[in-house]
Amino acid sequence: MNETCRVSVERRGDVAVFWTDGYINNQGGEEIAREAYSELDRGARALIMNLEKTRIVNSIGISILIEVLEKVMERKAVLAFCGLTPTIDKTFRIMGLAQYAAIYPTEDEAFRAVSAPA
């Protein structure tokens, strides 16, 4: 597994799709936050984070994702996760991330959900 978490982003209209590859710790979390805030500043209405290449998230990474979620909510945008391992899925549910961010099995399902008219 990668020592440093790599984050790549693709913009699809007002939806920004993020792919992470590696450990989401302090470094990985900061990388995600930086890209997320940048996309929000550029008017993204929804962020989808595909974590299928991430096997580990620690508590620092989770706290940063919560900060991102708070910022997303301040901007009246939405955050969705997909491609979670069962362990990370359960971690997000216990730590409260799933309370305000939706979790979908696949990126397609997440995209369809956040693209649907409110």
Binding site: E3, Y23, N26, S59, I66, T87
Partner: protein
């Protein structure tokens, strides 16, 4: 509108904006919002807020304030008051000062009352904010502890059904790194029976996997080294981490591997010390891993054992086919033969060969070793005898041919003892070769017993072995007992051997029995002697009786295995 009315309206606008700035959904940090609101409320030119944080005082300024930023004072005033043209207001709640508000360019001449009001409003606001953060942090902490417990539970369930050691190692390592907030980690499982160790790492290998098996870890098998970059850990100086935590993966009296994590991180990017709580958590993961690895090993062994048992059963079935299916009917002779292997397959073999002119050949052989290798040699001997018996004019020639066959084709350096007898009823003679075999017992009709000793070395033992054929009278009423050493060397709980003397006495006491009854009774006798103690050598017995009449008294099938 009068000037006064305009000023009042402007003031109301300022206050409205100030209160709007305080709304929680506003993105600016709270300190900035307080500075903005306080400047508007007090009608000041500039405002700043200094907050007490864990690493010192942090200033925040109203973005509308003009001029250079203020330096954080070396010392804050004890109470509200004006100093160097600025009004300093402590922001406190529940008796604790959380920060200071500083205002410059105030219109009011006596700001005492204003300072009290601002201190009350913004102190309470800061207190609530701080309390809210504390609650949030505590809630996060509780959830993190819950996550630890859930992880331990899930890991137990997950590992219970996990027989893939590699996947097991990943699962344990990922959870260990995640829950200790470590940046990196390595798990090493020692290889069994000289196999290389299995090693998994995240963030780089922090342990030298090949060396860990020799490590002497201290009592408890836990090492916390918060100075790992300069103090050796278990005798090794790690160059790729600052702090590390190691635990042994072990079952009682046996270490299976090592689990290590390194560089516990904080939100601000520092590397924190590992604590005893971290060590306890990692030990729990290591215990789960040890139990799972051991279960996997036992499961693998059980499958291997089952496979071997299936092969042994198959080999035993094949070997049973090598034993005579029925006793030959030879006029004037009464026969019995049986073998009792100590494993599913044994190294003993007996056979009968009806020959021309009413003669009978018979053999009892005992191959060195046990199990499959011995059974393979038995199979070779069986084939060799059946192939060579018709081509041999004498027993010595037959034994020599078998010896050459074994010397040439036997893959392993094994040998066998063998007693080959040839009964010629017409001449009342027993011819025999004993290749290192135990003395056969020949009982005369008178009750006298003669021991027929070896006439040569075991077959396959020496490159140029030689054997001598002996003869003995074999008249009506004579009885021959040939056995393997599993009979005489059977032991009881006192580790006493059944012995040749005891066998001879039992044999002599039963001379009047039929051959089959005699055979059954001798097996029973040795079993009684052993008192249920497991035996480690096959037991084989062949009885040949020369009858007075020329009929046969063979009764039924031989008993190849009991």
């Amino acid at each position: 509108m009068t000037d006064s009315a305009v000023r009042t309206a402007s003031r109301i606008d300022d206050l409205t904006r100030a209160l709007a700035a305080l709304r929680p959904e506003t993105e600016s940090p709270l300190a900035v919002r307080i500075a903005q609101a306080a400047r508007a409320l007090a009608g000041a030119r500039r405002a700043a807020v200094f907050l007490r944080e864990a690493n010192g005082w942090v200033p925040s300024f109203d973005s509308a304030s003009e001029g250079p930023e203020w330096e954080t004072p070396a010392r804050f005033p004890d109470r509200a008051g004006v100093s160097e043209g600025r009004l300093w207001v402590p922001l406190e709640a529940e008796g604790e000062v959380h920060g200071f508000l500083a205002l410059e360019g105030l219109e009011a001449d006596d700001p005492t009352e204003l300072a009290a009001s601002l201190g009350l409003i913004f102190g309470a606001m800061l207190g609530v904010s701080r309390l809210s953060k504390l609650v949030k942090d505590a809630e996060f902490e509780v959830k993190a502890r819950l996550l630890e417990l859930e992880s331990l539970y899930d890991l137990g369930l997950s590992l219970a059904g996990q027989l893939d050691v590699s996947a097991l190692a990943d699962e344990v390592l990922y959870r260990s790194i995640s829950l200790t907030d470590a940046r990196k980690g390595t798990l090493v499982l020692f290889g069994e029976r000289g196999a290389p160790p299995l090693s998994r790492s995240v963030g780089g290998e922090i342990l030298p996997p090949g060396a860990t098996e020799a490590w002497e870890l201290p009592a408890g098998d836990v090492v916390i080294n918060n100075e790992a970059s300069r103090v050796p850990t278990a005798g090794v100086c790690f160059t790729d981490c600052e702090k590390c935590l190691l635990v042994s993966i072990a079952v009682p009296e046996r270490r299976l591997g090592v689990l290590a994590v390194a560089d516990k991180e904080s939100r601000d990017g520092r590397v924190l010390d590992f604590t005893t709580a971290d060590a306890r958590l990692l030990s729990l993961f290591a215990n789960q891993a040890a139990a799972a690895v051991e279960t996997t090993r036992l499961h693998r062994e059980a499958i291997e054992k089952e496979r071997i048992e299936r092969e042994l059963e198959l080999a035993a079935a094949i070997q049973r086919q090598l034993l005579p299916r029925e006793l030959p009917q030879i006029p004037g002779l009464e026969l019995a033969g049986a073998t009792r292997p100590t494993r599913q397959v044994g190294g003993d073999y007996f056979d009968f060969f009806p020959l021309s002119r009413g003669r009978l050949g018979f053999v009892v052989a005992d191959v060195s070793g046990k199990g499959i290798p011995a059974a393979l040699l038995v199979s070779t001997v069986h084939a060799a005898i059946h192939l060579q018996i018709d081509a041999s004019d004498t027993i010595v020639e037959l034994v020599s041919r078998i010896d050459r066959h074994l010397q040439r084709f036997s893959a392993t350096h094994k040998f066998l003892t063998l007693f080959f007898g040839l009964v010629e009823p017409d001449a009342s003679v027993l011819r025999y070769v004993s290749a290192g075999h135990n003395p056969a017992l020949l009982a005369r009709g008178s009750g006298e017993v003669e021991r027929l000793h070896a006439t040569g070395v075991p077959v396959g033992l020496l490159p140029n072995g030689s054997w001598k054929e002996e003869t003995a009278p074999f008249s009506s009423g004579d009885l021959l007992c040939v056995y393997s050493d599993g009979f005489t060397e059977a032991t009881n709980a006192e580790e006493e051997e059944f012995s040749l003397d005891r066998l001879e006495r039992a044999f002599v006491d039963r001379l009047s029995m039929t051959a089959r009854d005699l055979s059954d009774d001798l097996f029973r006798e040795v079993s009684l002697f052993a008192e249920g103690v497991p035996q480690y050598d096959d037991q084989t017995l062949v009885i040949v009786r020369r009858n007075t009449e020329h009929g046969t008294r063979n009764t039924g099938e031989p008993v190849p295995a009991r």
